[in-house]
């Protein structure tokens, strides 16, 4: 665990190091650290955001049926996750259950989103930190080892040494880098087939979809999926080789980005055989999701009940630029099961922005609030992270031991993924085992396994969709009326982790709406109880393995730690080294070398 003592820079050996912005889509994440170069350790870390969005403010008074179209715009990369989550919340409020075929189409669209987004992030952004050019510059001795180290899975991916794999990750020129861009395009085509458009779906609505279900639609999807599978099988083997090499080449590297195992997963891929979007049955249908929801604390599955998960959510302040809403209106005093709903729950939140100067020294320093999960057993407000999404999903699903399909099986300690023979590769069974640590490497490793998971689940969803079609079923939408008064909540997984939308309808209009995407959980500042957010916690106390001194320092280990959480696409990093010296490291595959 990180030491959380406040250390003043007078000690002499501490150097302020800041990265602001570590961009998401709209660059708004800053990491401010103090580094002890003598002891090669990060001493303090603050995660800040300088951007106010205000969705919860301007959603009020809107027609609830617009919610998914508007909230989709929260993100420019996983907007469809928001649209789908909003539809889940609306479906609960309207009391409507989409036809099964509509649900399979949504699941297929979301599976393609996980495939596309995880691939572009992993291979085009994360691996810039693990590529030849970066490792050669930051850790020359590691690069020398990599060039000589045989790749254990060379027969699967065709690269003889670890150095060869790293060379293929080089931005703009590396083979894997370029192939991944192509794969992410195919993934986006798959989403467009099912959801009409990417990033903001045009055919996803509460009550179902507007996609016309035809055999051609699903075969078009399948042919693209099979092309992706060839890449995925190779990519998993390459990822395992590189990450295992890092553990081996730099003993102690498991401490980079390591924090206590505090993971949240809100579940994904509803099962139309069970889901009815009724809050009263939420525990049952939540458990039947094809990614099981769950809260994992110190390796133990504390709950997999969506009702418990919902009621445990608390939005704390402490270091954020907002007024408290303790004296504001309580919208939902009890949930439909009669359980009391806390004042700090998203259903009862009122957003009261209070712009002010950033104060990193004991004051407020971020527009992000501090979402926490109240653990009834201990009375702790846990700063859950999502492990970049994939780690929490796999971990909760493995422990819950519920998912059992022909392609994906949870075992209690692992998740087995069976991929069929595809044009260039034989059939393959992968197994993701629960790792020893929640750290940067394991977050990154889980990501590529979850791509395989999604691809395998997509094969199952296609089987089920084809069965519906062969029975002549084409219905994809169910009619509904909007009630005057209702509440709803949607639980889903955005690509980089937990996603919830909480909705209150009065007079047929939105009275309160609060989306909670993964990055507020991961990037939250220190809360009113003094608990640091996950980025802060993971970086504080982590060792520095970079071989360069303060003058040439790139902060690669810190970047690997923060990026492992997938803080939406970090496409540009501007680095400030104090005393007016600014280094700019640009990782921007979309906008060219000088983006």
């Amino acid at each position: 665990m990180a030491v959380r003592e406040r250390v003043t820079p007078e000690a002499g050996k501490l150097v302020d190091m800041s990265w602001d912005p570590i961009t998401r889509i709209v660059g708004n994440l800053g990491i401010y650290t103090k580094i002890d170069f003598d002891n090669r350790e990060v001493v303090t870390c603050k995660s800040t955001s300088s951007l106010f969005r205000g969705y919860s403010v301007f959603m009020k008074g809107k027609d609830p049926r617009d919610a998914h179209f508007i909230t989709s715009r929260i993100c420019g990369i996983c907007g469809d996750n928001h649209a789908v989550c909003s539809c889940y919340a609306q479906q609960m409020a309207y009391g409507v259950k989409p036809p099964p075929l509509g649900e399979w189409i949504v699941n297929l669209g979301e599976a393609a989103e996980y495939i596309f987004d995880h691939i572009i992030f992993q291979d085009n952004l994360v691996f810039v930190d693990f590529c030849e050019e970066m490792v050669r510059a930051t850790n020359p001795s590691v690069w020398a080892k990599a060039e000589k180290a045989d790749a254990p899975h060379a027969e699967l991916h065709g690269y003889r040494t670890i150095g060869d794999i790293m060379r293929s990750y080089n931005p703009f020129t590396g083979e894997t880098y370029k192939e991944a861009l192509h794969m992410s395009r195919i993934g986006r085509e798959m989403i467009c087939l099912m959801e009409g458009r990417h990033v903001h779906p045009s055919t996803v609505y509460p009550g179902g979809v507007g996609t016309v279900a035809t055999p051609t639609l699903f075969t078009d999807y399948l042919s693209r999926l099979l092309r992706c599978l060839d890449f995925i099988k190779k990519a998993v083997a390459m990822n395992d080789d590189v990450f295992d090499f890092f553990y081996e080449a730099m003993p102690g590297y498991e401490e980079v980005g390591r924090r206590r195992i505090l993971l949240g997963c809100w579940g994904a891929f509803n099962n139309p055989d069970h889901v009815d979007y009724d809050y009263l049955n939420m525990e049952h249908w939540g458990n039947e999701m094809f990614v099981t929801p769950g809260v994992v604390v110190d390796g133990e599955l504390v709950t997999q009940n969506l009702v418990d998960i919902n009621l445990g959510i608390r939005i704390l302040l402490g270091s954020s630029y907002y007024e408290d809403w303790a004296n504001e209106e309580t919208f939902v005093a009890q949930d439909p099961l009669g359980n009391p709903v806390d004042k700090r729950h998203p259903w009862n939140q009122t957003t009261l922005p209070k712009p002010q100067k950033r104060d990193l020294d004991g004051g407020n320093y971020s527009w992000v609030m501090s979402p926490r999960w109240y653990d009834q057993r201990t009375g702790d407000y846990l700063a859950l992270d999502t492990g970049g999404g994939a780690l929490a999903r796999l971990w909760a699903t493995a422990l819950a031991n519920k998912v059992d399909t022909p392609y994906v099986k949870a075992t209690g300690q692992s998740v087995q993924i069976s991929l069929p023979k595809t044009p260039n590769t034989p059939e393959q069974t992968l197994e993701w085992r629960i790792p020893q640590w929640s750290n940067a490497i394991e977050r990154d490793r889980a990501r590529i396994y979850f791509v395989a998971y999604s691809a395998a689940m997509a094969l199952y969803f296609l089987d089920r969709a084809f069965t519906e079609l062969r029975n002549g079923v084409t219905k994809v939408f169910e009619d509904f009326d909007v009630p005057d008064e209702a509440i709803g909540c949607g639980f889903h997984e955005a690509v980089r982790g937990v996603l919830s939308h909480h909705l209150v309808i009065r007079d047929g209009k939105i009275a309160n709406y609060h989306p909670y995407p993964p990055t507020p959980w991961n990037g939250s500042p220190t809360d009113s109880y003094g608990t640091p957010g996950p980025y802060e916690d993971a970086v504080m106390g982590q060792p520095i393995f970079e071989e360069a001194g303060p003058d040439e320092f790139r902060g690669i280990d810190i970047m690997r730690a923060v990026r492992s959480f997938d803080p939406c696409l970090p496409c540009g990093v501007h680095m400030y080294l104090g005393k007016g010296k600014t280094l700019k490291t640009v990782h921007s595959p979309m906008f060219g070398e000088h983006g």
């Binding site: 809107k62 002549g472 079923v473 084409t474």
Partner: protein
């Protein structure tokens, strides 16, 4: 350039109560070619004279377009 006074505030909700909504209950049944059991027929292909799209020979299967 002179423009008129706007009739609607920018934050007005997109739906006005009382106006027919496409999502309302009962609309599925009113659409041609959509059967109550979730299957559909050739009549689904258009709202203009949809019956004309049914097969010319009753012994032929009445398939949904696509």
């Amino acid at each position: 350039m002179k423009v008129g006074k706007p009739d609607v505030k920018p934050d007005a909700p997109s739906h006005v109560k009382g106006i027919k909504a496409g999502n309302s209950k009962g609309n599925y049944e009113r659409q041609s070619g959509h059967n109550p059991d979730g299957t559909s027929t050739a009549a689904r292909s258009t709202g203009v004279n949809p019956k004309a799209h049914d097969p010319i020979d009753p012994s032929m299967p009445n398939l949904s377009p696509g």
